[in-house]
């Protein structure tokens, strides 16, 4: 076993640096070797097409960002669609509710159906509030399942969910449990 002396010390202090460069060189050759193989065997045949797609997307973003390119959209809403039609913010087609028979405007159909079928938070809450309810069951049980357990899978900020809206409605759902 060698006794540490001056010469050994200086070469020892270089060892970590030495090992690092060794490892780094080895990794670099690894990558070069793998890439070489991929290229020689033609496994990267899609390279050009992939680059073309990237280029097209980059160009598209530039084009879309340029305000002079945006036409016929006034605040996101259009004057006419391709069929030459215009539509109100709240759809006004009238039809019969298939649950109760009433005439409802299309744009208000979902909120109506929710109450009509006894679904949704508000219906569930109304039931749980007066939980004694046989009479409540009669009131809300049309077609819907009245249950006192609350399944809030769509209610909570359901972290994996992107909620949607209707451009015309100011309704903000999520989290609020009171009607």
């Amino acid at each position: 076993m060698s006794v540490p002396n001056e010469e050994n010390l200086s070469s020892q202090s270089q060892l970590p640096s030495h090992f690092f460069w060794d490892l780094l060189d080895s990794i670099i050759v690894d990558v070069a070797s793998e890439s070489h193989r991929v290229a020689k065997l033609g496994l990267d045949a899609n390279l050009e097409e992939d680059d073309e797609e990237l280029k097209l997307s980059a160009q598209a973003r530039v084009r879309v960002a340029d305000p002079s390119n945006n036409s016929n959209e006034a605040n996101g809403k259009y004057v006419v669609d391709i069929f030459g039609q215009t539509h109100p913010t709240v759809a006004n087609e009238i039809f019969e509710c298939m649950n109760c028979g009433r005439s409802i405007a299309a744009g208000r159909f979902a909120p109506h159906l929710e109450k009509c079928m006894g679904k949704g938070r508000k219906a569930r809450l109304k039931v749980t509030r007066s939980s004694s309810g046989a009479q409540n069951q009669n009131r809300y049980s049309r077609g819907g399942s009245v249950s006192t357990h609350t399944n809030h899978s769509s209610n909570n900020s359901s972290v994996n969910r992107l909620a949607n809206g209707n451009a015309g409605f100011e309704e903000h759902s999520n989290g609020t449990t009171h009607p």
Partner: protein, 554 residues
């Protein structure tokens, strides 16, 4: 006789390699095989039997980085002496890079590739791993698989329809493509409208319904329960393809869906992806029973949801201690992808997004790479290894074994902060291609890459026609997690249309490419022949009524 794997170009051997093989055959390779050492993660290298550190025989410098072994005289040499060796000794032209088990030609001064050498290398891996771990299926099995893959696509037009002759197509009168029609928002239902638009134009799904795949008269469910979601989907198709251009209200469909999905039945903003899953699951549950007699599993079910959307995912868990690989298969209806953002850990252990947002762009291919990347399961997630009989650190890797005719990719645009206990939406732009080649994410490709891309049959012998996809719809979202708006883009006859509830407008490609995608719909390229684009090949069916006497169509 099967062709060689078409994904490879078999490399031309250099003259020196040919000469060597002519003279020595495989004896050198076999001798080398004994010295090969594998690692659990698929690497292979050459180790001297006495485990001494190899040094260059000529200059004794073991600090020289790359050491080669001469195939003729078994001497070790550094790179410089490797180039000198063939000149000193005639015929000593071939070497092996011992750290990587790669062939090197000393006269060509380049790394070379030989299928036979790769076979020897893979044979070594096979000796270590249990049988069949590396895709060595018999030809008979491959044939069966191939047939099964093909049968899923495009048979709808032949079997179901009672009408075998095409009726003169009056729909083609309009200059606009068939099926292009707005959907009224019934009250925060744009999540539903956007997905419906995509499904209405998914070629195999559309063809099934338009050619009478689900007959209203024959539907047992409808006669017995008076409730059939698929009949109602059929009704939506009929209405949308009727030629009427004023917006349609899918009220009956909403009513029907709410009756099937009690937990999602409420008037509020919802998630489009959740709706997509719910709808297809309902189709499967109802259809799967009547078709298969029992709830079919992912592989055998013939319901329309499965035939069009379901693929098969493979999960490989490798034990880091012994290399044993445990493989499981799971059917998938779509693939949810995490964004390929770099997340770095600060010193305090908090997760911070790398600030170089400008430099690193997120791409769909990047997300798919991330999805199929080997993932080290942390030491708190040790999995039980059957061979070691104890919990070990493991490596998990996903890949796709079977691709569906319609591939749906879902971008997880949300992140949680465990510290602040809130989640937020990620608005970061994600680049996505219009033409998508899924080959690199197939199980055979992932397997091949794991073993260093050796020239070897890894079981992926479907030609790449089934791996190439073309985009046909994108669902985009704007806004926050709690409140926002969904808009779809669909591509019909090479023109893109924006479907914003009742509003249908033409847009150019750039608008779509620059949009913030949330769900992207691709269909196999083979489904986009000319016939399927203009629908005149489809017979009109008795079930497809033009005017439906229910709410929503006037």
């Amino acid at each position: 006789m099967f062709q060689r794997n078409p994904l490879y170009t078999n490399p031309e051997p250099c003259q020196h390699l040919s000469d060597y093989k002519h003279k020595h055959g495989f004896s050198g390779y076999k001798a080398i095989q004994k010295l090969l050492v594998t690692s659990p993660i698929g690497k292979i290298s050459l180790k001297k039997p006495n485990l001494r550190i190899p040094r260059c025989s000529f200059c004794n410098g073991c600090e020289k980085k790359r050491i080669f072994l001469c195939l003729i005289c078994s001497s070790f040499s550094c790179f410089d002496h490797t180039l000198l060796h063939p000149k000193a000794e005639i015929g000593h032209t071939l070497f092996i890079d011992i750290e990587r088990a790669e062939l090197f030609c000393g006269l060509c001064c380049d790394q070379i590739y030989d299928p036979d050498f790769d076979q020897v290398v893979m044979a070594k891996h096979s000796m270590v791993l249990p049988q069949g771990a590396i895709g060595n299926e018999s030809i008979g099995q491959r044939l069966i698989k191939r047939r099964r893959l093909v049968s899923g696509v495009g048979l709808y037009l032949n079997s179901k329809s009672k009408f075998s002759f095409p009726i003169k197509d009056l729909r083609g009168k309009s200059c606009f493509p068939e099926g292009l029609r707005g959907l009224n928002n019934l009250g925060s239902t744009c999540f539903m409208n956007s997905v419906l638009q995509a499904l209405l134009h998914a070629p195999p799904f559309r063809d099934y319904f338009l050619s009478g795949g689900h007959s209203l008269e024959d539907c047992k469910r409808r006669t017995i329960d008076r409730l059939c979601l698929i009949c109602d989907i059929n009704a939506v198709f009929s209405a949308m393809y009727s030629g009427d251009r004023n917006p349609y209200s899918p009220a009956r469909f909403l009513y029907s869906w709410w009756q099937h999905s009690a937990n999602l039945a409420s008037y509020e903003q919802q998630d489009a992806h959740e709706f997509f899953i719910s709808m297809l699951n309902t189709i499967h549950e109802k259809e799967g029973i009547t078709r298969n007699g029992s709830k079919g599993n992912g592989g055998d079910c013939q319901c329309i949801a499965h035939r069009v959307f379901y693929g098969l995912l493979r999960s490989d868990v490798t034990c880091m201690a012994c290399g044993f690989i445990s493989t499981t298969y799971d059917p998938f209806l779509d693939i949810s992808l995490n964004l390929d953002i770099n997340i770095a850990l600060t010193e305090k252990g908090k997760k911070v997004t790398k600030s170089n947002e400008d430099d690193s762009k997120s791409t769909l291919l990047g997300c798919l790479d991330l999805f199929t990347r080997p993932e080290k399961l942390g030491s708190d997630q040790k999995l039980y290894c059957q061979k070691c009989k104890e919990r070990q650190n493991s490596l998990k890797q996903m890949s796709i074994t079977k691709l569906p005719p319609v591939l749906t990719l879902h971008v997880k645009r949300f992140e949680h902060s465990f510290v602040k206990k809130l989640s937020r939406k990620i608005d970061r732009y994600l680049q996505f291609p219009f033409s998508l080649d899924m080959t690199p994410y197939l199980s055979s490709s992932i397997l091949r890459a794991r073993y260093g891309n050796r020239i070897f049959n890894f079981g992926g012998n479907e030609s790449d026609t089934f791996s190439k996809f073309e985009i046909f719809a994108v669902v985009t979202h704007s806004g926050t997690l709690e409140s926002g708006h969904y808009v779809s883009f669909v591509r019909l006859r090479k023109q893109w249309y924006r479907c914003d509830d009742a509003w249908i407008t033409e847009v150019d490609e750039a608008t779509v490419r620059a949009s913030q995608c949330y769900m992207i719909f691709y269909a196999q390229k083979t489904l986009f022949n000319n016939a399927s684009e203009d629908l005149s090949h489809l017979p009109t069916s008795p079930g497809r009524e033009v005017f439906i006497p229910i709410a929503g169509c006037c």
